[in-house]
Symmetry: C2
Subunit: 336 residues, 2 copies
């Protein structure tokens, strides 16, 4: 089934959406919000499933589904932990600044604790006080929402705790990252509010594309109307979502509604750094990555970061061309 | 007024507690949970205040307040951001490993994004799979809960957004910190679930002790029944809570119910590193700090980290000796 949180209140109002993303129906009588549904998933999920089946059969009194009326599926969450599972992306970043990557990065996942209290709506602007020096970037990623996960869960068992899947724009301020990471406490100001897709879906909606804790479809990023990236999210993902969840849960339990991100999706090309879409490659899921390639190949970055009015659209299509999660559709708005 | 979340459901049930922490009364008719109260604070706070006044006048049908029945005031929160405002503590940590501290640390707050989905109850055990190599430590700190804070708030205006104050044990796994920080993404596994005091209070409850965004009273830590630390939380706090909130809100708004921590409370002594309580000093608010002193003075740490059965009690008394927030009262329980 497919779920959305339509605007209304701090946590939105829970709706079911049909597979074509054309019709929607309230499920307020089952659970008022997605967090409420996740808090009691074992009881609520079968009721939602029954309603979703009726929706697909055309038996319900629906209204037209408008993606622009959506909040992120969890407008605020109790946890957002973002991995960096495409390790070749990390290796590239390091290469661009002539730094070695520790071997352990191939076996021990990188993960940061993100702010989860104020996510953006999928069609909301990215409001920033300035662009100069901030290095505003998008990061296209896949994310999962878990149920309650016990401390010490194994990577294999962790897969059973994945309740919902969505995509995310993990907005990043590249200009603030080096200074923050040098302080040693990780990201904070350099990771402003993220936006998630209008719709999240249960794993069964993905059919064969959801396999071994990875989502095997291209993730499409369009920057100012041009295709910027279309890497396959199941390829070159060093750690699957089970491993990422197990990493997060090593020393504490995770509460239902925890969101775990994949990190920027990135594909190698013949062992190398890939190519832009216009040169026949699959491109990139963030601007920083193409700037790294430019730095390695030309000595300096060429592609600018995002400025006022720049637009990013992120989506994923199934094999028939149907949008699975709807579009993340955001424009940068500088207030300063 | 003083508020507590008594166990029941994922978010506890909101109660008012009298100043002596002896009597309590449900306020479920005003707001079922503390998060619900914070979501609508401007409306709810005056109603709670009226009830609190009636409680103090002995006009209500109360029940006995038992700290052991409490969850942390927010059993799960949408944000937990912990500063490191006692910069001399940071300087000491660095000194112990012969590292320079950047000058900017005196003007630009250190802050990390903490996990906020699974806080421990104030009297819950600290359950860990192992103690060997983990370096289990407590960290006694002051914390505030904010209302909604706009992006870009000034440090001065930020003070008006502080709704509630409490104390916290920011449990830390010292053995995991160097490895995690070396990876560059900040703390994750090295910061398991924190526990907060049974009671949080509005700033007016603190009278003259709450001044210029700092809490001017000793924070008491008792390790296995002996006083381990009693530093004054208003002394040597380089950044006040207004500055910490402004730092957190530079590139994103903060949602009501955001918790901001002070970092480990630490006092210098004549410009030096302080002294243990048994040598006439004010001691320390974590074991790591005394181990640093031991390393500097004797070449190696002597005081061990916490092991199975070790007990930590953290509290703060007002000038009359009355406990303000109740006790954080935790025992380490190793399951492995």
């Amino acid at each position: 089934m497919k779920l959305a949180s339509i605007k209304g209140g701090r946590d939105g109002q829970l709706y079911l959406v049909n597979k074509q993303l054309s019709e929607t129906v309230s499920v307020a009588d089952i659970a008022p919000t997605l967090q409420a549904a996740l808090d009691d998933w074992a009881t609520v999920a079968p009721q939602l499933k029954e309603r979703a089946d009726a929706l697909e059969r055309g038996e319900l009194d629906t209204k037209k589904f408008e993606q622009s009326t959506c909040e992120s599926p969890l407008p605020r969450a109790f946890q957002w932990a973002d991995g960096s599972a495409y390790v070749n992306h990390v290796e590239l970043v390091r290469k661009a600044r002539n730094a070695e990557m520790p071997e352990s990065f191939w076996t021990d996942p990188l993960m940061y604790q993100g702010g989860s209290d104020s996510f953006l709506a999928p069609h909301a602007p990215i409001v920033m006080p300035q662009s100069d020096g901030f290095g505003i970037d998008f990061e296209a990623e896949v994310a999962v929402i878990t149920g309650d996960v016990p401390m010490g869960v194994s990577a294999e068992d962790a897969l059973d705790h994945i309740k919902l899947i969505m995509i995310v724009n993990d907005v990043s301020l590249r200009g603030l990252i080096p200074g923050e990471l040098a302080k040693g406490f990780g990201f904070f100001q350099s990771k402003p509010s993220s936006a998630f897709s209008p719709v999240c879906v249960t794993p069964d909606e993905l059919g064969a594309a959801w396999k071994e804790g990875k989502l095997h479809l291209p993730l499409l990023s369009h920057l100012n109307g041009e295709t910027f990236g279309k890497p396959e999210a199941g390829v070159d993902m060093t750690f699957n979502f089970g491993q990422l969840i197990a990493h997060a849960a090593r020393t504490r339990p995770l509460t239902a509604g925890t969101i775990i991100g994949s990190g920027t999706v990135s594909n190698k090309l013949d062992g190398g750094p890939g190519k832009p879409v216009k040169e026949g490659g699959v491109g990139y899921s963030c601007i920083a990555e193409i700037r790294m390639i430019e730095t390695i190949q030309q000595g300096a970055p060429v592609t600018p970061f995002m400025a006022n009015g720049d637009h990013i659209k992120i989506e994923m299509l199934d094999e028939s061309g149907q949008s699975i999660f709807g579009e993340i559709n955001q424009t940068v708005a500088i207030t300063g």
